[in-house]
């Protein structure tokens, strides 16, 4: 009985190890790993873009969607082959430190400021993001921040810095740092009737708006540019440099750029291609 159970145990062990080795479909498929941000992913852009790329190139793109900080970290550690993020300062640092090569502009979208429809801080019509933020701080109106070192978060913090408001000191009870992705932050903002800054893409597909509406948009300061960076294969030999380059060129080339422009939600274009 002992021998039989040992054999059975061995068989089960081998089965369980062999099983989830690769996605069941076709283990020979070419694929690259793209580290991008949750906001980009949740906009639905990839669902539109990646099938087109796969048709053109035969390469599948596996998107790991995390905050910008984490995406850059994945690139540093060589766990992704290419990045698509929206934090120019972070991107430049990434390249300067030798983790990435050939940063290229890809597209931009914009951020919008949303808040409760009764607008307690009166930011509607304030004309600029800076003025809107100033009014929110003055009214000590509840503001939900992602607080997660993402591209969106970094952009938001730059706006506060530009108007000289120190929000991260803590004790400013109206400013709530959530440490969450864009969607979770909007969920929380909706739940606490707070203001928040979000990218238009996430907002367009966000379904739990409750009383939140767009109160400010269009300011140049809310401009949100995206960059594609190849992870430096010299740092990490395991990186799929050749296939990543194909994606990188496609994204910034005529077909990728046209696809980006063609992505619409409810008839509205979310991302504007600007590869040079």
């Amino acid at each position: 009985m002992l021998k039989r159970s040992l054999v059975l145990a061995l068989a089960l062990l081998l089965w369980s190890l062999a099983l989830p080795a690769a996605p069941p479909a076709c283990a020979d498929d070419r694929f690259i790993t793209l580290a991008s941000t949750t906001s980009t992913d949740q906009s639905g852009l990839f669902g539109f873009l990646l099938p087109a790329f796969q048709r053109d190139s035969g390469i599948a793109v596996r998107v790991v969607a995390v905050g910008t900080g984490q995406a850059l970290k994945l690139g540093e550690r060589g766990d992704a082959d290419v990045l698509l993020v929206h934090d120019r300062a972070g991107e430049d640092k990434f390249v300067a430190e030798g983790f990435g090569i050939d940063r290229r502009d890809v597209m931009y979208n914009d951020f919008v400021v949303v808040g409760p429809s009764n607008d307690p801080a009166g930011i509607k019509g304030s004309g600029s993001a800076g003025e809107a933020f100033r009014r929110i701080a003055a009214a000590r109106a509840a503001f939900a921040s992602r607080g997660d070192d993402s591209g969106t978060n970094r952009a938001e913090l730059r706006l506060w810095q530009a108007i000289g408001v120190e929000v991260r000191a803590g004790g400013a009870g109206w400013y709530r740092e959530l440490g969450s992705g864009m969607g979770e932050t909007l969920n929380t903002a909706a739940g606490m009737n707070a203001y928040a800054m979000t990218d238009r893409g996430t907002w367009a597909s966000f379904k739990n708006r409750q009383s939140l509406v767009i109160l400010l948009e269009g300011d140049k300061a809310l401009f949100n540019p995206y960059g594609s960076i190849l992870v430096n294969p010299a740092r990490h030999p395991g990186v799929k440099a050749a296939d990543a380059l194909i994606w990188h060129r496609w994204l910034t080339g005529p077909r990728g750029q046209a696809a980006i422009a063609g992505f619409k939600i409810a008839g509205e274009q979310l991302f504007f291609p600007d590869a040079k």
């Binding site: 145990a9 989830p20 949740q42 550690r77 597909s205 990490h236």
Partner: protein
């Protein structure tokens, strides 16, 4: 209230329509958690038995550590496994990160302490009862481990089910090591997290109901099998 009704009807729709994307997600969840539990049982059941029976210096400390690891935070385990499997990490060359295999590894680490700790307790209690007789019969060490594990199989099954519950419920570990990649490493829990963050609460709740239904079904099947076996074997 409205959300719950919406959630229930979403759950029903999901099950009835058998949406292929959802089926993929369900299949992956079952494969990953099932494999992790199987691996954890293969290692943990004998490990617990040995801990119950063997006497060696530091045993008490080891038992305390394993018991404590029952409460390992999934997200911490995920982070640790990520650092191990990352290309920049010691096991990077295997290319396991962001694959279901990495998820199995992480969940096995989570489930193993539960199975081992509970197995240890079951076997220790059985040894109190059987020890003298087994020694009188001259059973060797391996035989004792196998005999006690088999004789305690009903209690040990509960331990394994506890492990399965833990594995299928967690999201922190599989999110980090799997990356929640659509069509590749998206499980029920990571899908629920995603839909929640997109604000699609009825869908998230609906998926949650499907997940609970799945786990309940597994438990029901195991219970019935156990009952009939118990009736046959005392």
């Amino acid at each position: 209230m409205l959300d719950l009704t919406a959630a229930l009807s979403t759950a029903a729709a999901l099950v009835i329509e058998l949406d292929p994307q959802m089926l993929d997600i369900v299949r992956l969840s079952v494969l990953v958690s099932g494999s992790a539990v199987l691996l954890a049982a293969l290692i943990g059941l004998p490990l617990g038995a040995v801990l119950a029976l063997a006497v060696f210096p530091g045993r008490g400390l080891l038992v305390v550590m394993i018991n404590a690891c029952m409460g390992l935070p999934p997200v911490v385990v995920g982070l640790a496994i990520y650092l191990l499997l990352s290309r920049a990490g010691p096991l990077g060359q295997f290319g396991l990160l962001f694959t279901p295999s990495a998820m199995v590894v992480a969940q096995t680490v989570l489930v193993l302490p539960i199975v081992a700790a509970l197995s240890r307790q079951v076997v220790a209690d059985l040894w109190d009862e059987y020890g003298e007789q087994l020694r009188s019969l001259g059973a060797g060490k391996f035989s004792v481990v196998a005999t006690l594990l088999w004789d305690g199989r009903f209690s040990l099954l509960t331990a394994v089910l506890a492990g399965f519950g833990r594995a299928s419920a967690e999201v922190g570990a599989v999110m980090i090591v799997g990356g929640n990649i659509s069509g590749v490493t998206r499980t029920m829990t990571t899908a629920i997290a995603l839909e929640t963050s997109k604000g699609d609460l009825p869908l998230a709740l609906g998926l949650g109901i499907v997940l609970i239904g799945l786990v309940t079904a597994v438990n029901a099947v195991v219970f019935l099998v156990g009952q009939s076996a118990r009736r046959r074997m005392g």
